[in-house]
């Protein structure tokens, strides 16, 4: 008699039900984002009317602060969590729409410079994080995850690498927590440093795109400085994201050769699988804008749509950052991440200042 294999029946969730589940969280993101926008408009006006000295706080920071306040006090109730997790969807849709504000020529010019800077940054960051991880006696695969997270693109790179090198869940959650905590710190420190050093919008935007790990935090850190810096930060960060497949493939081959991960079969298919497809959407919209598929008013409307999408993203960045959870992950990976990030930030700042002198952007 043949063996009987019982496969547990997993009841698929109906698409309509899945859609309904995200609504409360999306409404929460929209409410927090809009409250941030109202606070920006009203707090400044109120302070001015009462002759108070109060810094001009942008909606980006208000939205993040409100999100942080909720997440770290009352927490995010279960009913909102599925919808709050869509912040990454809004981020990517916002980036695709932002493509309308870039002409193809700008992308080729800035993309060429940023590709060179990104290649130097990735090489330097991986080498330094590997060295630092060994000094702190971290586990080899944890070092790989931290190196990829800080060199390429934060959480998505860590998740992509985890699957490719068969890393432990514990190692990946350590790395993700460290990268998220450091991203949250970068949000507050980068604009301050940029203003202190009187960096121009372009130099600052490129620096934020090169040095801040997660795409959402890099976008927010750029937008906190200025609109122009935000655009540049997204372009450079997207260039970094596009490199994810090559870095993960290199590590997958390395760990397979060590006999500690599955061998990679079709390398081209692997690269395509890991490639962030939203970059293609960004380029497509940019091509359409370059060939004047949209008129001036329509480009303005698309730019505003992109801002609304980012508004939901910034609220989500605050809501998903929980400092208590991060503290639980331990000090050593965080210390390695923190030292590494400071060195990478200084290194990339030097790169940007040097490139600014060389290429005159």
């Amino acid at each position: 008699m043949a063996d009987v294999v019982v496969v547990p029946q997993v009841k698929p969730v109906q698409p309509a039900l899945r859609f309904l589940r995200i609504i409360p969280g999306v409404l929460l993101l929209a409410a927090i984002g809009y409250a941030g926008k109202l606070l920006e408009q009203n707090v400044g006006a109120y302070a001015k009317a009462h002759h108070w000295v109060f810094p001009n706080i942008e909606y980006v920071l208000w939205a993040i602060l409100l999100g942080l306040l909720i997440s770290n006090t009352v927490g995010v109730p279960e009913i909102f969590r599925t919808g709050v997790a869509t912040y990454e969807f809004w981020l990517k849709a916002g980036i695709v729409l932002l493509g309308s504000r870039f002409l193809l020529g700008d992308i080729l010019k800035l993309g060429g410079v940023s590709l060179l800077l990104v290649a130097i940054e990735i090489t330097g960051a991986i080498a330094f994080m590997t060295f630092l991880g060994r000094v702190f006696h971290l586990k080899p695969k944890l070092i790989t995850l931290l190196a990829v997270g800080s060199a390429v693109c934060g959480v998505s790179a860590i998740i992509a690498t985890k699957g490719a090198i068969d890393a432990d869940d514990e190692d990946s959650s350590f790395s993700i927590a460290a990268i998220l905590a450091l991203g949250a710190l970068a949000l507050f420190t980068f604009p301050l440093i940029g203003h202190y050093l009187h960096l121009g919008d372009r130099a600052y935007g490129i620096w934020a795109g090169l040095a801040v790990d997660n795409t959402a935090e890099a976008t927010a850190a750029g937008a906190l400085y200025s609109d122009a810096a935000g655009k540049l930060a997204v372009l450079v960060k997207s260039t970094r994201n596009a490199m994810i497949g090559f870095v993960v493939l290199a590590y997958a081959i390395y760990w397979a050769n060590q006999g500690q991960a599955k061998a990679v079969g079709n390398k081209a298919a692997f690269l395509w699988q890991k490639f962030p497809k939203f970059v293609l959407g960004f380029l497509l919209i940019s091509v359409l804008a370059t060939y004047q598929f949209f008129n001036k008013e329509q480009v303005g409307a698309l730019a505003n749509l992109s801002r609304w999408a980012f508004l939901l993203t910034f609220a989500g960045v605050g809501l998903r950052t929980n400092f208590r959870d991060m503290r639980k992950q331990g000090l050593r990976p965080f210390a390695v991440g923190a030292i590494g990030e400071v060195v990478i930030a200084v290194f990339t700042l030097g790169l940007v200042v040097g490139a600014e002198k060389l290429f005159g952007f």
């Binding site: 294999v5 849709a93 729409l97 949209f294 008013e297 303005g300």
Partner: protein, 43 residues
């Protein structure tokens, strides 16, 4: 009969990735703006 022969390959239903959804929604919004359905998006 070996255990391997009993392995059941459960084929996952084909779904669009998050990135693909973001592209589809953004392009759709761009087309609606181009077609004049949304003439002005305030900020």
């Amino acid at each position: 009969m070996g255990a391997q022969e009993n392995a059941v390959q459960v084929k996952k239903p084909w779904r669009l990735s998050l990135d693909s959804w973001a592209i589809v929604v953004a392009l759709l919004a761009a087309l609606l703006v181009r077609a004049g359905v949304f003439k002005h998006i305030p900020w």
